[in-house]
């Protein structure tokens, strides 16, 4: 094959357009023919020069790209009022649900606490030793608790009232120690529980007077102490004893 025929194939060879058999033949020839090899190198260099001069010769305005991008991007779904409304409603319903659950949980907790206090009161009444310190003297009862519970409290002067102090005992609510004072009014016994506020589950409101299993209850907080007055006496008696206790505060 003449030089002309070989070199006629050089462009196709460099463009990668020869089949493998033709490629192998030309490869072989280029290794044996310095003239064709030199011509091949010059054309390869030329291709690179053209590519270098022409590629990325003209840079597009970025604004053109932005315009195109905007034009060809799939249309975003039109925002309608109802999805936002639905989301808002869903959030509100969720919040309401949470509030209901929290309220339900809070009520359940309150109910449990009250029930526990009633149980404590009943167990005290049923006990053969309802009180650990038997005294009608508040100045005896109060010091007895010193060292037994982590706080102190004041007791009211009962003289002139229908109430009589029976005594006291250490009681526990939610594993926290507190004072249980037993008062008598006529033939009814009333328990007054005093616990530290921090020992009581948060959110437990002041209640009362409320009825629980035929018992009357009143509760309040003072000086980080939580007071519960509970008994089967008349509601007015519960209220009156509560007022006495509050009055000396």
């Amino acid at each position: 094959m003449s030089h002309e025929l070989w070199t006629a194939q050089l462009d196709a060879y460099l463009d990668g357009e020869l089949d493998s058999a033709e490629m192998a033949k030309l490869d072989s020839h280029l290794r044996e023919c310095p003239a064709c090899a030199a011509e091949g190198l010059r054309r390869l260099q030329w291709k690179k020069n053209v590519q270098s001069a022409a590629a990325q010769r003209y840079g597009a305005d970025p604004k053109l790209r932005e315009r195109l991008q905007k034009n060809i991007s799939p249309e975003k779904p039109v925002r309608r009022w109802w999805p936002a409304y639905a989301v808002t409603m869903a959030v509100l319903l969720l919040l309401a649900g949470i509030a209901v659950l929290r309220e339900g949980s809070r009520q359940e907790r309150n109910s449990r606490i009250i029930s526990e206090l009633v149980d404590l009161h009943v167990s005290t009444l049923a006990s053969s030793t309802p009180v650990d310190v038997v005294s009608t003297d508040r100045h005896t009862v109060k010091p007895w608790f010193a060292g037994r519970i982590p706080f102190t409290f004041d007791l009211p002067e009962l003289q002139g009232s229908p109430f009589e102090l029976v005594g006291g005992r250490v009681s526990y609510l939610e594993q926290s120690p507190g004072a249980e004072l037993i008062f008598r009014v006529r033939k009814h016994q009333i328990s007054v529980f005093i616990f530290q506020e921090r020992a009581i589950p948060k959110g437990l409101p002041n209640v009362g007077p409320v009825d629980a299993r035929s018992f009357h209850l009143e509760a309040w907080t003072h000086n980080d102490l939580r007071y519960f007055v509970i008994g089967d006496a008349a509601r007015e008696d519960i209220q009156a004893l509560s007022n006495l206790l509050k009055g000396q505060m």
Binding site: A54, R57, G59, L64, N71
Partner: protein
Amino acid sequence: MSFEQLAMPLFERLYNFAHWLTQNRDEAEDLVQETYAKALKGFSSFQPGTNFKAWMFRILRNTFLNSRTGLRAATVPLDPAEGDPALPAEVQTPETILIDRTSREIMQAAIEELPIAYREVLLLCEVEEMSYQEIAATVAIPIGTVMSRLSRARRLLRQAVERKLQLRSAS
């Protein structure tokens, strides 16, 4: 893949090609915009698995040929040697010159002077690195014509560069 995912990576290449064809920034921008609009409109007719790049370049080229500049450019008569078998290059220009800034400008000017029919196949081959078959599909000519135009484009380009280099040496 969506049209956007397929077409946007070709943006810079299409713009470069458009500017090489039109030799004018505004016309190139219009050409690219029109190309994308047409391609998007006809995307449903594009057959997945076929050459999307060639499809886009074909739309751009056809759009260009239908433009005023394209119609004018297409009236330039081709070298009568078209159709001849590929000719060996009669290279007298130093292809091995370092393509410094001046040489690059000479090369660019020479490419700009090429008739559009040669310029496009040269750019599609050397810049876009399309195969002869892809170029044939893009330009809608037989592969044999691609080869002959490419060969002619290279020869004309070498001659133009040589001429410009001689002028530079003389000055």
